[in-house]
C-alpha cells in the first residue's frame, strides 16, 4: 500500500446500469398485482392478493437494497491486489492478492444479460468447504467484466508481447481463437460441447418430486390470486373417492414425477444450452473453461495449476444407462456451491466423461488404469455390518411388541430389510478398487454413487491408515489421503493389510519412510503386515 503506484489507482464503481435494472425489477414486481386488480378486476384486499403483495414487497425491498449496495461499493485492481469496499452500516474492505487468484467466474441472470451486465466472482485459495467466495462484484458492464477477467487471469506481471506459442497453435487438436479481440494471445482447445439429448440424463432424479411440489404450489397460489381455483378444478377431474387411497397415491406419484421430470429437463436445457468445455492457454498458464446457459449464462475458468485431480461418480439407480457426474478436484472452488463450479460436465454419458478425462490428463490418464479389486474379506465386513444394522430395528421393537404397544408382526416385518441390506453390501463391495497411476492415486468406492477419484500424489497433505476391531480380524485396513482440494479426504476402504502400507507409502511419497521398518515381527494391537 505504501507504493505510490498502488495508491494512485482510482476506485471504480460498479456499473450504473445496476440501478436501471433495479428500477425495472421494482416495476415488474408490482405489475402482477396491478394486472390482477385492473386487468382481472380482483378485489384489492390483502386476503385475495397476499401472494402478489409478498412478490411486490420482496421485489421492491430487494431492488432498494441493491441500489444502496451499489452506492456504497467501490473496487480497484492494483498491480498486486484486488480490493473491494462495501457496506452501509458495516463497512467491509476486502483485499485479495492477485497472485492468489485461482478462478474467475462470470455469471449473468436474464436481467443482467438484457442490461449487458456480468457478475464477476473472484476465487482465491481459500479453504474449500467454507462455502464462501473470495470476492464478488455484482455487477460490471460486460466489456469491463471481460477486461477484468483477462487482467486477473493473465500473468501478475504481464509480458508486453504475449502471443501464444506458434508450436502449440499448430497442434491439430487446437481450435484457433475466434475473431473476438478479447481472446488474443489465447489458445483454445475444445473438449466437449452441448448435446441436447443429454437432457435424458438430467430429467430423472429424486429432485423431480421437489420440483413438482414447488411448481404445483407456485401455480396454485398464482392462480388463486387471479381468482382461479386450481384445487377445485383437480377435485372435479374425476371421482377420486372411487379410486381408493392406493390409486390416488399412484396417480399422484406418476403425475408429480412427470411434472417434475419435465421441470428438471427444461431447467437443464436453460442452464446448459451452449455448454462448452475447453482448455484455454495463455502465455504461461492454462485454464479449464466452461461456458453455459441460454437465458442466464455462466463462465468458469479454473486454473489448471490448482487442479489436484478429477472424480467421476456413477449414481446407483442409473448405472445401467451409463450416467456420470464429472468434477475436478481443485482448491479454491467450493464443492457445496449449488452452481457446481467444480463440475466440468453436466450429468451425462460416462463415455463423454472418460473422453474428457483423457483430454485433460493427456497420455497419462489415471482414469483409464485398471483398478486392483479388494479382497473377499471386504465383502464379509460389509455383510456383517448390513446384518448388524438390520438387527437394530427388530431388537428395538421387541420390548414394545411384548408389551403389546405395537403389533407382534412388526418386528418380524422389519426383518424384510435384511436382504435389501445384504444386496447393498454386495453392490458396495463390487465398487471398491484402487491403483497408483503415474503422478496420481486412484480410489473407487461408494454405494449410492460409485465414485472414481484420481488425486495427484504430491497434493496429499496427510495420510491415515485406519483399522477397526473387525477389520483387524479380517486383515483389512482403510487408507485415507487428505488434501486441501475437493472433498478433502479420499479413501480406499478395506485394502489388505500388506497392500495398505504400500499404497499409503506410494500415495504420499517419502512421508512414511522414516516410520517404516523391515522385519516380519508382528506387533500386538496394530499389525499392518501379518508375518
Amino acid at each position: 500500500m505504501s507504493e505510490a503506484s498502488t495508491t494512485d489507482v482510482p476506485w471504480q464503481r460498479l456499473s450504473v446500469r445496476v440501478i436501471w435494472v433495479d428500477i425495472v425489477v421494482s416495476v415488474l414486481s408490482l405489475s402482477p398485482g396491478a394486472v390482477a386488480i385492473w386487468g382481472f378486476g380482483v378485489e384489492p384486499s390483502l386476503d385475495a392478493l397476499w401472494p402478489l403483495a409478498i412478490v411486490a414487497a420482496v421485489g421492491v425491498t430487494g431492488a432498494v437494497g441493491d441500489i444502496i449496495r451499489w452506492a456504497f461499493t467501490t473496487y480497484r485492481v492494483t498491480a498486486v491486489d484486488i480490493e473491494r469496499r462495501t457496506g452501509l452500516f458495516v463497512k467491509q474492505h476486502r483485499t485479495l492478492r492477485r497472485e492468489r487468484v485461482r478462478s474467475v467466474d462470470t455469471a449473468a441472470k436474464l436481467r443482467h444479460r438484457l442490461a449487458g451486465l456480468r457478475v464477476v466472482t473472484v476465487g482465491a485459495g481459500q479453504q474449500t468447504g467454507s462455502g464462501e467466495s473470495a470476492l464478488v462484484l455484482d455487477a460490471l458492464a460486460r466489456a469491463d467484466a471481460v477486461a477484468l477477467r483477462e487482467r486477473l487471469l493473465a500473468d501478475p506481471d504481464p509480458d508486453p508481447v504475449s502471443i501464444s506459442d506458434p508450436a502449440s497453435a499448430s497442434d491439430p487438436a487446437s481450435v484457433p481463437a475466434g475473431a473476438d479481440p478479447a481472446t488474443r494471445g489465447e489458445d483454445v482447445e475444445v473438449f466437449a460441447t452441448f448435446k441436447p439429448w443429454w437432457v435424458v440424463y438430467n430429467m430423472f432424479s429424486i429432485w423431480a418430486y421437489l420440483m413438482a411440489a414447488g411448481l404445483s404450489w407456485g401455480a396454485f397460489w398464482l392462480a388463486s390470486s387471479f381468482g382461479v381455483d386450481l384445487f377445485g378444478f383437480v377435485t372435479r377431474l374425476t371421482d377420486w373417492g372411487a379410486l381408493g387411497w392406493v390409486g390416488i397415491v399412484l396417480i399422484a406419484l406418476v403425475v408429480a414425477g412427470v411434472i417434475g421430470a419435465i421441470g428438471l429437463g427444461v431447467n437443464f436445457l436453460l442452464g446448459y444450452w451452449n455448454f462448452e468445455l475447453a482448455r484455454v492457454r495463455t502465455s504461461s498458464r492454462s485454464y479449464l473453461r466452461t461456458r453455459r446457459g441460454l437465458l442466464s449464462t455462466r463462465e468458469v475458468n479454473r486454473d489448471e495449476s490448482r487442479m489436484r485431480g478429477m472424480s467421476i461418480g456413477e449414481p446407483l439407480l442409473w448405472r445401467w444407462m451409463g450416467m456420470a457426474d464429472t468434477n475436478v478436484i481443485t482448491t479454491g472452488l467450493s464443492v457445496w456451491d449449488p452452481e457446481e463450479p467444480t463440475a466440468i460436465l453436466p450429468r451425462g454419458p460416462i463415455s463423454v466423461a472418460r473422453k474428457v478425462a483423457r483430454d485433460v490428463f493427456g497420455d497419462a490418464d489415471p482414469m483409464s488404469v485398471p483398478l486392483t479389486r479388494h479382497p473377499r474379506a471386504a465383502l464379509r465386513r460389509r455383510l456383517w455390518w448390513a446384518t448388524v444394522v438390520s438387527a437394530i430395528a427388530p431388537l428395538a421393537l421387541t420390548v414394545p411388541a411384548i408389551a403389546g404397544v405395537v403389533p407382534v408382526w412388526l418386528p418380524w416385518a422389519t426383518l424384510g430389510l435384511w436382504p435389501i441390506a445384504l444386496g447393498a453390501a454386495v453392490i458396495a463391495y463390487r465398487s471398491l478398487g484402487h491403483a497408483i497411476a503415474g503422478d496420481h492415486l486412484v480410489v473407487r468406492s461408494g454405494l449410492f454413487s460409485r465414485t472414481t477419484a484420481a488425486l495427484r500424489r504430491d497434493a496429499v497433505s496427510t495420510i491415515a491408515i485406519r483399522q477397526s476391531v473387525l477389520q483387524r480380524r479380517l486383515g483389512l485396513s482403510t487408507v485415507s489421503a487428505m488434501t486441501a482440494a475437493g472433498w478433502s479426504a479420499y479413501e480406499a476402504p478395506d485394502m489388505p493389510d500388506s497392500a495398505a502400507l504400500t499404497f499409503a507409502a506410494d500415495a504420499a511419497p517419502g512421508v512414511l519412510d522414516e516410520f517404516v521398518e523391515g522385519g516380519v515381527a508382528v506387533e500386538r494391537g496394530f499389525a499392518v503386515e501379518r508375518g
Partner: protein, 170 residues
Amino acid sequence: MTSIAEHQNDVRLRPPSLRVERRAIGWWMLRNAIACGIPLAALVVAANIWEPARAWLAAPVVAVALILVVKVAIEPWWRFRVHRWEITERASYAQSGWLVVERRVAPTSRIQTVDAVRGPLEQAFGLSTLRVTTASSYGAIAIRGLDRRTAEDAAARLTVVAELSEGDAT
C-alpha cells in the same frame, strides 16, 4: 518409496515412539462419564415421569447404561494402550482410537497451524491437546493427553521447524 514397494512382504509401519500421560486415563473416564451420564439420567427420569413411554424406553436405557459402563471401565485403559505420538523434523505421526485405531502422518512441509489447546476438563488434569492442522479440513492431527509443558514445547519446536518450509502448503 521404491524400497518399500520392493520389500513389501517384510516391512511394517512401526508405532510412534512416545506414550501419552497416564493422567489421561482419568480425564477420559470423567469425560465419558459426563457424556453418557447426562443422556442416561434424562432417559431414566423420562421413564419415571412418563408411564406410557416405558415400553419404548427400556431398550435405550439398557443400551446407554451398557455404553456408559464400557466407556468408563474399558475405553480409557484401552485408549491409553493405543495412543502414541512422535514428532520428527520431517513429519508428525500419531496413533489414536480404541475400537478403530488410526495412524496419521503429516509431513512438516504441509503444516499450516500448530496449537496447544486445553479444555476445562483437561486443565483440571494438567493436560493439553496438540493440534497440528494441514490445508485439508480433515487432515488435522490431534494428539490428546499430553502434559501441558510437553505440548507447549512440542508446539513451539514444530512452529520453528514448519516455518522453514516455503509455499502455501496446499
